[in-house]
Amino acid sequence: MRNLILTLMIWIICFTAITFGVSLTYTWYKNSGKDIYISFKDVAGLIPNQSKIMYLGVEVGKILDLQLDEDTKTPWVKARINRKAANIIGKDSQFWIVRPELSLGSVRNLGAIATGDYIAVTPVKGEFSKTFVGLDADPVSEQFEDGLRVIIKSSTAAGIEVGSAVLFRDVQIGEVGHMDLSKDRRNVLIKIYIDDEYNNVIRKNSNFANISGFHASIHLFGGSEISLNSLRTLIKGGITVITPDMNSAPAKTGDTFTMLTHEQYQELQNS
């Protein structure tokens, strides 16, 4: 009888151990994720096992390792995506590193000073992929994601860069998202992204003018004049929108406008 009790006790202890082992294995399975590899031009600021992959402030993954590619000498990030979040990563997902930016032109991502740099991701439905190419800069602020996108043809891009403000009555309504030369290389095509909220500001007859920097007209006789728009446009450049007739048909994504020259702009302002 004592033998039986001992056997039973051993059996109970072992059963507890088995349950423990199974639950541990299950927890491991649930917490384990899918590994992905992202190549970047520069991974300064990322820390293995500490930096995270975030989407809208929610952690979807963790960076496991940073390594240099043997052939191309570009850095690779090995990251593990949480099992639960794996379905938001598709093969067209974009990854970019979010760093705090504190310059004369803008103050952005200050939260990253405390949390450390992290990788942000755009969710895409689609089949999963293991390797990605990271972006060098953020793909235009997310707030302009759904908004209008129009192209401005200009003879020069002086003072304008990606991220320059688009202003309407000195209120920012969008920003420059992309710049390229036209096919015949005679013009610069500036693609601007308008905030969804201000889509109706852009009409078919809208005019765009470059207000980057400041303009000085110095006359020997008759007085000189210096016009300056704002410090921000002085440093980061800007485009202003003038819509003379708010009843005109609204512009559509893909419409092309021609940038006014400075003389045309002044004429418009004086009229």
Binding site: N3, T7, A17, I18, G21, T25, N49, Q50
Partner: protein, 167 residues
């Protein structure tokens, strides 16, 4: 009510429960980190396989082989042998093979604690306060329990074996 079970059956059931429990604990022991290294504010958790890999990549292939033997080959071999012994005991076949295998399992039993020793040595050696510390993690406890369970299983089997060979 009188339940009549022979002593050998008792020992066999005990050995079987210990072996099965050891297998179920050995699986998470390989998945979870067995050591946490804290170094200059960052901490790194190492699983057994990671440890072997980094030892090998660091050029210490001798140590890597020993750890690989001690924490992967020997436990797996031991668990398989225990199963083999229990099965042959149950069907009462292959008596001689069983005897020598049991002696072998008993002999290597003391060596399978090697990585638990390794962690305890590391924990003892590397203590620089907040700057660098090493601490044992869940998998090392699991491994310790696995070793104890396999030793208990082989002890039960030995008793069973003795009882069988006496008459």
């Amino acid at each position: 009510m009188k339940i009549d079970i022979s002593n050998t059956d008792h020992y066999l059931v005990r050995a079987l429960s210990f072996t099965v429990a050891a297998i179920f604990l050995y699986i998470p022991a390989n998945l979870y980190p067995f050591m946490t290294m804290k170094y200059a504010g960052q901490y790194q958790k190492t699983t057994i396989w990671d440890g072997i890999k980094s030892l090998y990549e660091g050029g210490m292939w001798g140590t890597a082989t020993i750890v690989f033997m001690a924490s992967i080959i020997i436990p797996v071999f031991k668990l398989l042998s225990l199963f083999f012994i229990i099965t042959t005991e149950y069907f009462n076949i292959a008596f001689n093979t069983r005897t020598s295998l049991l002696a072998l399992v008993d002999f290597i039993g003391r060596w399978s604690m090697l990585d638990v020793f390794l962690v305890s040595i590391m924990v003892g050696l590397i203590k620089f306060g907040d700057f660098a510390t090493v601490s044992a993690d869940i998998a090392s406890y699991l491994l310790g329990v696995v070793v104890i369970f396999t030793m208990l299983a082989s002890a039960s089997l030995s008793e069973c074996h003795e009882e069988e060979s006496i008459p």
